[in-house]
Amino acid sequence: MAPRRMRAVVAARAEAGEGVAAFVLKDPDGWELPPFRPGAHLDLYLPGGLVRTYSLVNDPAENDRYVIAVKREAQGRGGSAFLCDRLAAGDEIGIGLPRGGLPLGPQPQVFIAGGIGVTPFLSAASALVRQGRRDVMLHVIARGAPPLAERIAPLVAAGLAQVHDTRAGLRPLLGDLLAPFAGTGAAACCGPAALIDAFEAATRDWPADRVHVERFVPPPLEAPREAQDYRLVLARTGGEIAVPAGASMLEALAAHGIDIPHSCCGGICGLCKVGWIEGVPLHRDRALSPQERETSLLACVALSAGPRLVVDL
């Protein structure tokens, strides 16, 4: 299938703190890029089939660039090392469509970031400030100079951010940072697990819809309650593919080199009809009759309500 990805070039690369590199990604012709929400994520397609997800750090109003910041993790799985060590200005890289974003409401907003956890909050804070909001505070807790210091500095100058250097002073108490926002405000946190645990403890009594935690993992796929992670078994070829709940069967097959004809990807054109033999498909299409559904499914929208689904492929 046509890959759901775009081509981008590294228009600029800059060191953005200790072990952190910032990349400005643009369309090869400088065309506008698809829009993104504050705090959105971007998938990067790296050599060897690696896919890595990073927060966009720039203001969503900048419609011709995606800016990401990558901290080199020596103990990581190789994605950040490739990006920090090898990806240079002028290189081309595959990217996905931006997805997700932070829930931002009209209430006063405090962001608590640990180190590189500042990334999703920079685009969010920039967007709120551009809207004229002054009831925003970004707290960045870091050992030494924070990552992306140049992007944080204008917010500090405007009185909308504070950097807490734990090498130079005491670690701030989360209760103190949150206190001005308790009652009427909203709070979000991103950083190491210990910081998130402390944040969750400190906001335990806050209304759930005004507390948000951003973890260093890709956002989960949205899926109906009945959908399960499942093993997709290919009856003719004997292959098996693990498909997460909510993920597209069509894309899972394509990722394993099995291209089936498809077009609308929304369950109406019927082109990606596949026979099924065993299991409990969640059909979700608008094309098949009840009779057809007994033996067929549309791979673009079908999910599984059981742990195993056998298809006639």
Binding site: A2, R7, W31, E32, C264, G266
Partner: protein, 176 residues
């Protein structure tokens, strides 16, 4: 297929059914060089017979569209009814702009769904409608708007270009 040969006759094929008479107008023109990238509004576009629109993703030789791996004459140029945008706002509460539907030409006063199999004039150019467009789920990913269902059966028209030329906003669209 010999496009020049097709372009020599203005007669509508007999198989297309009774004649549909209309005079409409071009309201918006949009192209984009690659799949997923935003459509850019243009004051005029250049149509090349048998190939596509200069600078657009489906132009033969460029082939950077979402469906370029499945070439089809009808992807040379696509049209959309301005009236559908009005209806989506009125009936579904969805604000959907001419830059978002990802068809090239937004027309007003043209009954697109009646034109499959017919030839008609778009400004100085001659088009032949090959099929109705089908909504595609990736439009929701790009726009973040729930437009897939409201677009069913009114998602535009795919055409091939029999005779090329420049099309401008305000040009007349007319039946033959």
């Amino acid at each position: 297929m010999d496009v020049q040969e097709l372009a020599t006759g203005d007669a509508t094929p007999a198989s297309a059914g009774p004649a549909t008479s209309f005079v409409g107008v071009v309201r918006f023109l949009h192209i984009t060089p690659r799949a997923f990238l935003p459509m850019r509004a243009m004051p005029e576009i250049t149509l090349v017979a048998g190939k596509g629109i200069e600078g657009d993703r489906y132009m033969v030789g460029r082939e950077e569209g979402f469906y370029s791996d499945r070439p089809e004459d009808g992807r040379q140029i696509t049209l959309f009814e301005l009236e559908t945008l009005d209806a989506m706002k009125r009936d579904c509460g969805v604000e959907f702009g001419p830059e978002e539907h990802r068809r090239n030409v937004t027309v007003e006063g043209v009954p697109l769904n009646h034109l499959v199999g017919r030839r008609f004039r778009l400004g100085e150019t001659l088009l032949e409608a090959t099929r109705l467009s089908v909504p595609c789920r990736h439009i929701e990913e790009i726009t973040g708007k729930a437009v897939f269902d409201p677009l069913i059966n009114r998602s535009g028209l795919n055409c091939r270009i029999l005779s090329g030329g420049i099309v401008r906003i305000g040009d007349t669209v007319r039946s033959l």
